[in-house]
């Protein structure tokens, strides 16, 4: 009888504790800086959030402008329709792409000029590299260098002229 009472008391204490702790453990939306999100029904896959224009702008810097624009003009419940944010992102992205394309063309031109003059210098290559680095295209440095390799394979340039000798 005594054992049964203790078990019942433990069970009750656990249930009360769990009930009290649940909102503290699961209510992330209550934290500052978070969007107000709810979990409709019991599904854990579908989450509805109400985003402010600032939050949309913050997110838009991390996802594709086309997605932001679609989201901002979708009229979905919880999304503040703000086409201006998406449009600004689109323009900024287009400008960056133009800037990157121009820098890459300029870098290619520099290297091709060095190949044509049979004199590839470290300074010239660094200048081409810098154009790519300044426009966040460091991952394309090897494409520039590969042009020099291809010129050697064509016989347009010797390894000595390319500065690729021991």
């Amino acid at each position: 009888m005594k054992m049964a009472s203790v078990a019942l008391l433990s069970l009750s204490a656990g249930a009360i504790g769990g009930y009290a702790a649940f909102p503290l453990l699961h209510d992330e939306a209550a934290q500052p800086g978070h969007a107000a999100c709810g979990v409709p029904g019991t599904s854990r896959d579908v989450v509805a959030c109400t985003l402010s224009p600032e939050q949309i702008e913050h997110l838009s810097s991390r996802i594709a402008p086309a997605v932001v624009e679609r989201l901002a003009t979708s009229g979905l419940p919880g999304v503040a329709p703000d086409a201006n944010v998406a449009a600004r992102q689109r323009v900024a992205n287009e400008n960056l792409q133009k800037e990157q394309a121009a820098a890459y063309s300029q870098a290619v031109k520099l290297v091709d000029q060095m190949i044509a003059s049979h004199n590839v210098t470290p300074q010239g290559k660094n200048q081409a590299y810098e154009l790519l680095r300044q426009t966040s295209q460091a991952d394309r440095l090897f494409e520039i260098e590969a042009r020099i390799s291809a010129a050697i394979n064509r016989g347009d340039l010797t390894p000595e002229q390319a500065g690729l000798t021991p």
């Binding site: 090897f142 390799s149 010129a151 050697i152 340039l157 000798t165």
Partner: protein
Amino acid sequence: MNRKSKLALLAAPVLCWFALAANAGADMTRSEAGVGSCFPETDPTWDLNITYCMGTMAGIRNQTRDATRFAYFAIGSSGVANFTMVVKGVGYSCTAPSSLNDLWRTAMTTNGWFHLGFDRTTGVCKFLTISGGSNQKSAL
């Protein structure tokens, strides 16, 4: 001539052939195979734009038939890795994608064999294999 003598006479050339063949294999490993070569892919079922280069650093350095021959692995502060080789005055070169950088660093100090393939037109290295085996140590 008794039967034993006849058998010995017949066996002698066979034994000589085996001895010569074994010795040729040893020479191939020690001096010939490591001297370095570059050649294009000729099998039309593969990519005919690929050129292969292979050898050992010591084999290339120690060969005496071609004074122009060298092989050169390089990687710079920009993170761009190159391979350059000259055989009989003809230059071969490729630039490696950054995914091969670690292998490039190993290739620069290897005592074993290197074998790489690259696209002649784009100048991009496609693969690099570095190998070392007990039969290849003699190439040093």
